[in-house]
Each structure stands twice: as C-alpha cells, then as structure tokens.
C-alpha cells in the first residue's frame, strides 16, 4: 500500500541552526501538508502546498519556515533558525485530486537543544 515517507525519524539540533525535514508523498498525490504536534498537545496545521505554491498557512508558519518541492518526489520543510519551542513531532501528509482524506507519514521528531 502506498505510504508517505518521512526522513529522518529523529533530528537533534542546536538552537539557532537550520534544519530540513524531508517527505516523500504518495506518488500520484498533488496536495501536500505539514503539521506539528508539540508533546502533550494537539496536532496543528502548518501549511498546505499545491501546484508549487503555498495554498494556506497558519499563524505558526512564520518567516522562519519555508517549504519546497525540489523535485518530482520530495517535499521539504525548512526551519531557518530553530528555537527551543520548535521541538515537536512534524508530520507530512498528502492528498489526491479532489479528495479530502489526508494520509500522514510516521513523522520526524525534532529536538532543539
């Protein structure tokens, strides 16, 4: 069964460093998303991406964040200068054309020290 793949599973970084989280969405999907879940809190929407541009973003997705689809398969989330409060699980999701069901990857745990 096709699945969303995220790498790495765990990323440890120092405060102020840049990190790139990577995702390979399901191959024929066209809509891509990033969510995060801070420990003990709910899953929160960050950004959605379609046709090489951002469709929607939340107030969490400030100038420190950016997304890119560098090639036909990868979808990345970059955090320019990490803060302690960026420590969370980051989930990538994707959706096919006209569908509302978002399929999630296993997540990347980001630990900012």
């Amino acid at each position: 069964e096709p699945e969303v793949t995220q790498t790495p599973s765990h990323q440890v970084t120092q405060m102020g460093q840049e990190v790139i989280l990577r995702c390979v969405p399901i191959s024929n999907h066209l809509y891509f998303y990033w969510y995060r879940q801070i420990l003990g809190q709910k899953v929160e929407f960050l950004v959605s991406f379609y046709n090489n541009e951002i469709s929607e973003k939340s107030e969490i997705f400030d100038d420190q964040f950016s997304v890119e689809r560098p090639d036909g398969s990868n979808f990345t989330l970059k955090i320019r200068s990490t803060k302690l409060e960026d420590s969370a699980m980051y989930f990538c999701a994707s959706t096919g054309t006209g569908a509302d069901i978002q399929y999630f990857g296993a997540g990347t745990r980001l630990s900012v020290l």
């Binding site: 969303v4 995220q6 809509y31 998303y33 969510y35 809190q41 709910k42 899953v43 929160e44 929407f45 959605s48 379609y50 469709s55 929607e56 939340s58 989930f91 999701a93 509302d100 069901i101 978002q102 399929y103 999630f104 990857g105 296993a106 997540g107």
Partner: protein, 112 residues
Amino acid sequence: DQQVKQNSPSLSVQEGRISILNCDYTNSMFDYFLWYKKYPAEGPTFLISISSIKDKNEDGRFTVFLNKSAKHLSLHIVPSQPGDSAVYFCASKNQAGTALIFGKGTTLSVSS
C-alpha cells in the same frame, strides 16, 4: 481557541463491548469530518470520514454519527478489540480550506 473538542482524554472498554468516542465542534463552516487513529511512534492513520450532507457513515466495525444541530459527532466501534487500543483524533475541515483542525485526542484502551 478550541474549534474541535474531545472532552474525554481516555476511555477504557472491555473486549467485545462498544466503544463510543465523542467530538464537538464550534465552527459551523466545517463540512467534512474525519477520525484518525494513532499508535505510538506512528503517524495518524485515517479511519473513517463523514460529509455534512450525511448523518451516518459505516465501515465494518466503525460507524460515525453526525449531529449538525448539536455540532457533535461520535465514533462507535463494535465490537471493540485489543488492537483498537490507540489514540483517536477527531478532525474537521471546511470546503474552502485545506487545513485539518484536530481535537486533542482520546486514548482508547481495550482490555481482553
């Protein structure tokens, strides 16, 4: 601001019995609702969904009920199995948007 609320953090049920998980929402613009299941160290897995034009959707042991006037939905699992033990998230979206708005989740424990 909690647009999607799951007021029960946990639920314990015996194997074979019915599990009922509840979810309330405040935004009347929401028109599509989903339930996801999540095991530790995994991402949310889609379980079942319902559009606002329906009041019930069934898939095997899982049934979702939607009460639009009360802005309430529930997930019924019958019969419950130990493998159903997981965190269950209710999520909502509106037709114009792309974002899923999640509740905090309910941890279901099914004992044999």
